[in-house]
């Protein structure tokens, strides 16, 4: 659990972060969003003391972070950044094994761990272990960056726009993998991004920052439905919020049992989002979709009225 208690950060005379309080529970995926210069990266870096806070206290598992030595604290917290920061003179395997080596793990344990992480992130040992960072694509390098951050099995992972420099397809793949990884490993993740779709897709808790302050925080759906002010509303997509909300809800949420009218011709997977369902309807020019399970067997139906959530009397 990470707790920021009335944190302020001043650089000379400018206030970068202004009296921020935030509690992130264990196993939570917390996204800090906001425009450039809103203090989200500064807030993140104060957690592993890359930037020292000026006022207030930051606690990790009830202990103030200043009660640890800086390097000891950082070895307990995974850290991944946009430009990866991989060491260009080290191989992939050596880069990944960095923190375990700092922690003086025995060599055999480091080797096993590196192998484990590489397979976890879909990097084949034979192909990549001995490569150097400049031989990797952006997506591969970022996978290595994430593997390195996870190497010593930290409870907390800090990620500063890790996928910001990747192409949309690679980015989406990595987002899904990260989400999956977090669900399996139960890490607490603090993730900074200015890509709202990314934040909505990943976050359990979305924290919107503006001019050094937290404007609103909560579950993505809650923020979409009840934005605290116009800034949050426009940041979350303005008029597009309906689509963004639809992207977060699965088809199964709005489907109805199969009716007497026969199975609709167009199909949609039950795990697809309402947004995808809407897109299929628009594309195929139909009002009804058959909802199918993993084996492509119809289990329900979704019609347009249900999809948009229209009330019965409208």
């Amino acid at each position: 659990m990470i707790e920021l208690i009335h944190i302020t950060k001043r650089f000379d005379h400018t206030v970068a972060v202004d009296d921020v309080s935030l509690k992130i529970d264990g196993g939570e995926f917390c996204c800090l969003v906001g425009t450039s210069g809103c203090g989200k990266s500064t807030t993140l870096k104060m957690i592993n003391r890359l930037i020292e806070h000026s006022e207030g206290e930051i606690h990790i598992d009830q202990k103030p972070i200043r009660s640890f030595r800086e390097d000891v604290l950082r070895r307990r917290i995974g850290y991944a950044i946009q430009s990866t920061g991989l060491f260009p003179h080290w191989t992939v395997a050596r880069n990944i094994g960095l923190v375990p080596r700092l922690l003086k793990w025995p060599k055999s344990r480091i080797d096993t761990r590196v192998e484990e992480l590489m397979s976890l992130l879909g990097l084949s040992m034979a192909d990549y272990a001995d490569k150097y960072p400049d031989q990797l694509s952006g997506g591969q390098a970022q996978r290595v960056g994430v593997a390195r951050a996870l190497a010593a099995d930290p409870d907390i992972l800090l990620m500063d726009e890790p996928f910001g420099a990747l192409d949309p397809i690679t980015r989406e793949t990595l987002q899904l993998e990260l989400r999956d990884l977090q669900a399996r490993l139960g890490k607490t993740i603090v993730f900074v991004t200015h890509d709202m779709d990314e934040a909505l897709r990943l976050a359990d808790r979305l924290v919107v920052m503006h001019e050094g302050r937290i404007v609103q925080q909560g579950h993505p759906l809650q923020l979409l439905r009840e934005p605290a002010n116009d800034f949050v509303a426009s940041l979350l997509g303005g008029e597009d919020r309906g689509l963004k909300e639809a992207a977060l809800l699965p088809v199964s949420e709005r489907m109805v049992p199969l009716g007497a009218g026969g199975v609709a011709r167009e199909r949609i997977d039950q795990t697809a989002s309402l947004r995808e369902a809407l897109s299929v309807m628009l594309w195929r020019r139909v009002e009804r979709l058959a909802v199918v399970d993993d084996d492509d067997i119809p289990i329900g139906e979704l019609n347009f009225r249900r999809l948009v959530g229209a009330r019965v009397n409208d």
């Binding site: 950082r74 070895r75 950044i81 430009s83 920061g85 060491f87 003179h89 800090l158």
Partner: protein
Amino acid sequence: MTDVLTRRWLMPFVWCALLLVGCLAMSLFEPVFRWLEPDSRDVVYARVDFLVLLGRHLLVVTIAAALATLLGVLGAIAVTRPAGREFLPLVAQVASLGQTFPPVAVLALAVPVLGFGTLPIVVALLLYGLLPIVRNTLAGIEGISPSVLEAARGMGMTGGQILRQVELPLAAPVILAGIRTSVTINIATAALGATVGSSNLGDPIISGIVNGNTAYIVQGALLIALLALAVDSVFARLSSR
């Protein structure tokens, strides 16, 4: 394997061989020097054996280079640490100044204080050779991508670990290039030592100037040039790995 080895070390080997031939068998070329300097009685410098002069020359340059490397690299490291960063502009400027100061002037100033002999020339070479090393070490360390350093800190490496495992290895090629420049310049500059009583390959040159013997001058210059080329080719070999 041996093939690669020969090819890689071919140039250093060639220059070293030529240098040795020059030192051991200068008298073979006596007819050439006779033609160059028909009026003198002796046309091949023989007061001291060339090999001895070469040894002294190398010794002076090596000592000066070792000291310059030690001071230069340590100095540059010191001013790139958080605690010493204030002094970075000062050190960079002083190092530049060191090279604009002519070595002859350093010698002239050093002799009254340090006396004649090897010491003043070592000091002059040290000062003169410091700049390329300081400048390149600074450039090498400052040139490391900030994200690499941020990651290193973020992973929990201590300052010492970052210096040893990240900064120095990444800056090494640039630092080596600085040492190479420094040493090559100083091999030529060391010849000045002969004017203050430090005997080396500059002796034939000074002696040639004093006695009006062009052949001596050519012999000294030739050997110094060969030495510079030999050492430079060794550095080239080391840095292109």
